[in-house]
Amino acid sequence: MAAWLIALPTLAALAVVVTALLHPDTEIISHLAKYVLPRVAVNTVLLVAGVALFSAVIGAGLGWLTAMCNFPGRSFFAWALLLPMALPGYVMAFVAIGVLEYAGPLQTLARDWIGSSAWFPQVRSRGGVIVIMSLALYPYVYLLARNAFLTQGKRALEVGQTLGLSRRQSFFRVALPMARPWIAGGLMLVVMETLADFGTVSVFNYDTFTTAIYTSWFGLHSVTSALQLAFFLLLLVFAAVILERRLRRGAAYTSNLAPPAARVDLAGWTKWAAFTAATVVFAAGFALPCLQLVIWTLQGVQPDFRFAGIALRTVLLAASAAMSITAVALMLVYAIRNAGRLARLAGRVATLGYALPGTVLAVGIYSKLTWLNGLVNDLFALLASAPPRLYLQGTIAAMLLAYLVRFLAVAFQSVDAAMQRITPNMDESARLLGVAGWRLLGRVHVPLLRGGLLTALILVFVDVLKEMPITLMTRPFGWDTFAVRVYEMTSEGMWQEAALPALAIVLVGILPVVLVVKASAYAAATR
């Protein structure tokens, strides 16, 4: 019951998508089926597969290296490799294109020196968009995988080694399988984010389901066919979710709270290979894009004196969203833990909002809110004959509700993964001692879940910082955020002017990101 209650706002938004199926626009659908869908489907599948693969390799690989191995710069990379998370994908995209394109400084330099840049790989290509999006999204996998490696304890590895596994074998055959729910959770976020992305792919002009949705909606003026395409997208996600569940059916991932494994000192070339891999990812995913943003900012952009107010509102919004959404995610995880299949389904449904393009979601939620508002208006008209007004929209509460639908998945994945570490035995022992219900949650689970909750808080905080379409649609007058400033500038192609608010997003995002890594390392060390 509780789970379904939490899923209600998402269901309302999904209802808008599903009801569109009842009114097929056959002419447009047949046009889409012939000229658009085949290409878009191939593009989308290849993009998702490519980004998932890259993110998994980079995220899990570096997560393992920084959690379990010693190599030069490890303690720096441990938190620095998370920083790309503070850099929105659309910003990374326009920076990459600005720098790497034919007209950009690198190729221009190449032509000046050697006369040709024909050997330079085409940036605005499938490969280009996959690389950029992977660099923007791998931190989801990295953060969750690293947490898993840090908390799984050393006993399993020791057992593996006494059974004759080499270090490499014990990574692939023990540690990696044990970290699967975390890696899968991170990957699920990456996949859903990729499916819903509009900003990055449009900078690359790479057509996916999302861009097709926008074209049908705003170009062909067919909201109906846009929503029908969105339904396709949901089916894809549902399939991915079910596939992932199938793959690990019956497995349990609880831990015995053993002390963390000691880090292994890498030696010889492996040490430098690890260093190089971490450096390349950090430079490409964070340092170089930020450097370019700083250069653009310095190239004669006037400061905006409203920045302090914007900063305050941005932080306030992101913080309240992070706290409320994490709290709801905890309730959802808890509701599912103690309930049956139906509740689990509610959990799946409640987290689907993450895969819908932000604008579709924003419109879905907004129209339902307006409907609710109509009821309130009817009531007021009855009581006080007040003129119709918008009471719900343009309030922070409505905004937070919309963020909840969008980002519940983010918080859910990390809280849920952390909950997997708590054995049912612990619940039973607690109950034997007379601790049950909410007290069980408060006194036993929450302390144990601290790492997962913190991860959830940070992920949502940083995601809200970067979020555009929902903020644009539901914000009250004057509640501009840094992402809104970036939108204002980029919508007019003013990349250099967008650099300053983009940097501001990074700066606001860095601190919590650093804190969470320190905290998770601390938590693992003090177990």
Partner: protein
């Protein structure tokens, strides 16, 4: 009794928050930095309170549809005639009924029923490299489909409404089959995958990736401001034919506005000579009010004959244009 009072509380709060002075709420898809100075100036001069929210035009219209008669919006300000046409078509706007507006704004830049008015003119024209192109070779938009431009043409993505409107106007003029042939010719001539911004396209011409492209003039103006020596120039096509394709940014009074008189007054002020100069100059566009001269930098580019088909045709034919471009492989 206390419960009844409690129920009424929100009403009181709302009433208490309602401004006593006149207020105009603007929904705008024209970027904030391009409207803020003017709206603030009007607020200071007239004492009318103005608040605004910006978003992409599609979501803004969906928002208006969803809000219906509960909407706080008074004025919808947006770019592209197609969007204005669609807003009127969806019943989101009401006639302004202002003879002053009809006098200030030429007939082809406004709705016949007075539901929206163009406020600035955006010309979409041909830009070329002054180093590699002799302007004599240029002529019309259709001419860019000729084989002599193979591997020399750059275009912006077909998803941008500016190109959708340009192709829509070509459909209005040449019909669908001929236009599709032209668009196929453009695609065959492309030197690089289509760009997502006019500025990048212009930079590609400067860098030598291609020689000609189709852009809105103000993007060229911005680059020219940064670098007056930039080896790029604008060409006015179709001067013997139907003229340069123009589009507008414009506004209309929201159908369910609580304060339509104040909205009309703001609109009238925006069309007046003093506001028009700044409205256009701030983004290096052309004033819609033909009595007002453009910014000196813009005036340098020379005068040209505009295509005077009513710009709302772009809206009517937009869906056809999008489908045509998808058929022709223009992404």
């Amino acid at each position: 009794m206390p419960i009844r009072l409690l129920l009424l509380l929100p009403v009181w709060l709302a009433a208490a928050c309602a401004p006593s002075a006149e207020q105009v709420v603007v929904y705008s898809s024209r970027a904030e930095q391009l409207i803020q100075p003017l709206l603030e100036r009007y607020a200071a001069e007239s004492g009318v309170r103005i608040s605004w929210i910006t978003d992409k035009e599609g979501p803004l219209m969906q928002r208006l549809i969803a809000e219906g008669d509960q909407t706080p919006a008074d004025l919808l300000l947006t770019v592209d005639a197609g969007n204005l046409w669609l807003a009127a078509e969806e019943g989101l706007l009401q006639p302004a009924g202002s003879t002053l507006l009809e006098k200030n704004i030429p007939a082809h830049l406004r709705d016949a029923d007075g539901r929206w008015f163009g406020l600035s003119v955006r010309a979409r024209t041909v830009a070329y490299s002054t180093e590699r192109v002799d302007p004599q070779q240029l002529g019309s938009y259709a001419g860019l489909a000729e084989p002599k431009w193979r591997g020399r043409l750059c275009l912006r993505t077909a998803k941008k409404v500016y190109n959708q409107s340009l192709v829509a106007m070509m459909i209005a003029e040449h019909g669908e089959p001929k236009t599709e042939q032209i668009v196929r010719g453009w695609v065959a001539n492309l030197a690089a995958p289509v760009f997502s911004s006019d500025t990048r396209l212009l930079e590609a011409i400067v860098a030598g990736q291609c020689d000609v492209g189709i852009v809105n003039t103000y993007y060229y103006g911005r680059l020219q401001k940064q670098n007056p020596q930039i080896p790029l120039a604008l060409y006015w096509p179709d001067q013997d034919g139907s003229g340069v394709h123009v589009n507008v940014s414009g506004a209309g009074v929201v159908r369910h506005s609580d304060n339509p008189q104040a909205a009309v007054a703001l609109l009238e002020w925006l069309s007046s000579a003093e506001a028009q100069k700044e409205f256009a100059a701030i983004n290096l566009e052309y004033p819609a009010n033909s009595a007002v001269s453009p910014d000196p930098l813009v005036a340098q580019w020379g005068s040209f004959r505009q295509n005077v088909i009513n710009v709302s045709r772009a809206g009517e034919l937009q869906a056809a244009s999008v489908r045509l471009m998808e058929r022709a492989g223009y992404r």
